[in-house]
Amino acid sequence: MHSRVFETPSTNEPATAETTFRQYCQGIRSPHVSDGLRCTRCDWMMDVNLSEPPGAPYFPQTGILGHCLLLAGQLDQNAGNRRAAADRYFQAMAYASDLGQGSWPMALAGISTGKRAVRALAQLVSSVQDDALLLRVIRQELSLLQNATPSLNPGLSWDAAHLANHLYEIEYSYLSRQSTAAGRLWPWQAIGAWRLSPSMRLAGRLDAAGAAADLDQLRQLGPQIDMDGVPGRGAVAYALPPNWDALVQEADNVRELLSAVQMTVPLQEWRLAHGGYPASLPFDQASPGYDLSYRPSPDQHAYQFVSRTGAIVLDVNDGASQTRAAR
């Protein structure tokens, strides 16, 4: 068994990004991390008996790894290496999407990392003053991330599988009661089917939620799932996380922010070509579903993207950007 020695923070040393990275983030340079980030697949090999992957829980390591990738990007950006910074932010985004394929706690860490990665990309894009090539690269890569935001669906799908496995066991218990002579005098299979019926509906709804591409559908399924999972209603009890609506909203915010950031790239290109941002959007919405309002400042050196509800999703001002989450 080997042990590792970590650099002890000096009490005199201020906690800068550099010192924090040096103290806690050396692990992201390991071959495990670099290999993982190059892989084509990510299957957490979830166990339907446990509803968790082997070795879980991984918290807080899931969060540390994602945030260390972001910190590495920030340090690259501060050093003027924007290309390397963009690579780190894209890696963090892809990693966040990978976490979304696991259990609930992993998906939460994925959403947290993903939100910060998109925010960092917004900051990076709005700071580009002279590098049209980098903007072109970021634009291409952002388009590939469209469907790679961390998702709540796999966690629901695994919960459905875990529940299904549990229902199998209950079903088997009813079938095995028939093996005795006394058991044959009672309709155990009919009783079992009746007892399982509400839980079957629950498992079906969880499975449907696991496949739902639309977050509004997830919002609608939430109360139905909770109602079917009330203790005593069926053979098993189940409840979504208590902050379910907030979670769906967070996942939605990441998608909405990504949609805004996709539009910041052509706007920044416009600024490089014309010296200011356009008076109106010279292109279509990146994600028409969000229908973000573009609001440039009168001097055309700043702009905001505003959601249908009136919330400022992204605020870009002369090379600086703020997002709703950061405000």
């Binding site: 990004a17 806690y24 807080p60 910190l71 669906n153 079903e171």
Partner: protein
């Protein structure tokens, strides 16, 4: 009179047994349908996990499972001090 009562009783018993048997046949069919449904749900979860493809934008792709590499990385990161996560998160958010 007694014979009639015994016959009625026997018929009632027989009817009850028939009802139980029929209910169980229906129940068995429902359970079979449930079993197929449960198979489908577990299969869906496994299929979704198998069909997920990572987005890799920065390096030469490696046709392997990233989760295996991440799990090894998590083992290393588990040895960090307990306050590592809030410190790194605060540094990112500064």
């Amino acid at each position: 009179m007694i014979r009639k009562r015994v016959t009625i009783g026997a018929l009632l018993m027989l009817s009850a047994l028939v009802v139980i048997a029929l209910a169980d046949v229906v129940g068995a069919r429902c359970l079979q349908a449930d079993e197929r449904h449960l198979d489908g749900i577990i299969g869906n979860a496994r299929r979704r996990a198998n069909t997920y493809r990572r987005v890799n934008l920065t390096d030469a792709p490696l046709d392997q499972n990233a989760a295996v590499s991440y799990q090894l990385a998590f083992k290393d990161l588990a040895q960090l001090p307990h306050d590592a996560f809030p410190r790194v998160r605060d540094a990112v958010d500064q």
